[in-house]
Subunit: 214 residues, 2 copies
């Protein structure tokens, strides 16, 4: 197990309905030393890429992205989830479905912060169905910028988001991939990433409403 | 002028209605080196306080808080703005009004992340009427924890939030206090903080609906 898998086993809580709570160290209370370790690992995995900007999405991606950005020495842009009246000018907008919150969100980035000369690393805390991530990919591609890679803290490997994104050819690096959880025993099964071939994944695809990458 | 005031003059944009846009370096795109400099300055101003936790509020406070936390070597907790179905257990909830978004938000922190043994530094990007901040103060006080101080990037000194908070006896440190803006000329007037006496501020108080500190 790597450092994040060890922390998930130690402090994560498995709940019914395939919910993994990591709010004591990742997405409500944040262990900054852990975030720094994650940032160093993202830098190691994307060391050969000419990344000049990190893109994430509010809210829980921001802390991970900002600490990681110190390892890349680049600025962070965070996508907003609904139209703010303080956002003016031209914007990139993608419509994405949130299964957690049971609603449709508009994901928004001001056009002035992404251009064809940008080489973007997308960072987020969770990847499950991948709807939010597909919205971010749509926005980067709309801007003409290049997606150099995607760094995720925890991927739910039993949901289709990761497989879809890898099948599209993106370098997707998830620091921990959870292939199964048992709410009764608390057991968590991690994927052995040393054996990954880029097409791993189980389950029927759940089509995200944004469906921006067809 | 200090480093943040210089950056506001260089890259901030004054809009009609006393709007100061700093989205190119602070709250949409984030200059991580600037955030690091801000974190170091917060550490300098609160050097004598036994801070063991930083509390902020989603979304734009999170990046500032996480980078600052590296200077304090403490975890960050961010308050959420609406009930999430992934938040279970007991929660502290404060109701606050957002003038920017013209709505009422519930500010929420899980009770397990704040206890009477905590010494909290609150960090946020903007302070204007102070409604969100009052919600955070209410939550910390509900938990029995101690508020050691409040660190703000930009305070709108012509709105009453800062004066109210200082009058209540809190150590409030704003890295830049804007006392006036001219949307036609783009001029920004900063308060000379070397002359502050703790009761500066102009204008009639606008009472926040949360009114938690009466």
């Amino acid at each position: 197990m790597n450092f994040l898998e060890e922390r998930i086993v130690k402090d994560g809580v498995v709940k019914k309905g395939n919910v993994l709570k990591v709010d004591s160290f990742l997405n409500h209370q944040m262990d900054i030393k852990l975030l720094d370790e994650m940032g160093a690992e993202f830098k190691r995995r994307f060391a050969d890429k000419p990344i000049n900007k990190i893109l994430t999405i509010e809210a829980s991606g921001i802390g991970i992205a900002c600490v990681a950005a110190q390892h890349f020495n680049v600025p962070v842009v965070f996508a907003k989830k609904s139209q703010s009246i303080n956002l003016d000018g031209d914007m990139y907008v993608a419509e994405v479905e949130s299964f957690t919150h049971k609603c449709i969100n508009h994901v928004i980035v001001a056009q002035k912060f992404l251009s064809p000369s940008d080489h973007v690393l997308i960072i987020d805390d969770f990847l499950a169905n991948g709807c939010a991530l597909q919205g971010l990919l749509q926005i980067v591609q709309s801007s003409g910028a290049t997606v150099e890679g995607i760094g995720i803290a925890i991927e739910k490997g039993f949901q289709p988001g990761g497989r879809i994104i890898r099948n599209l050819g993106f370098q997707l690096e998830s620091l921990a991939i959870v292939d199964g959880m048992n709410a009764e025993t608390g057991e968590i099964q991690f994927r052995d990433q040393s054996k990954m071939n880029g097409s791993a994944g189980v389950g029927k695809d759940r089509i995200c409403r944004s469906a921006t990458l067809d």
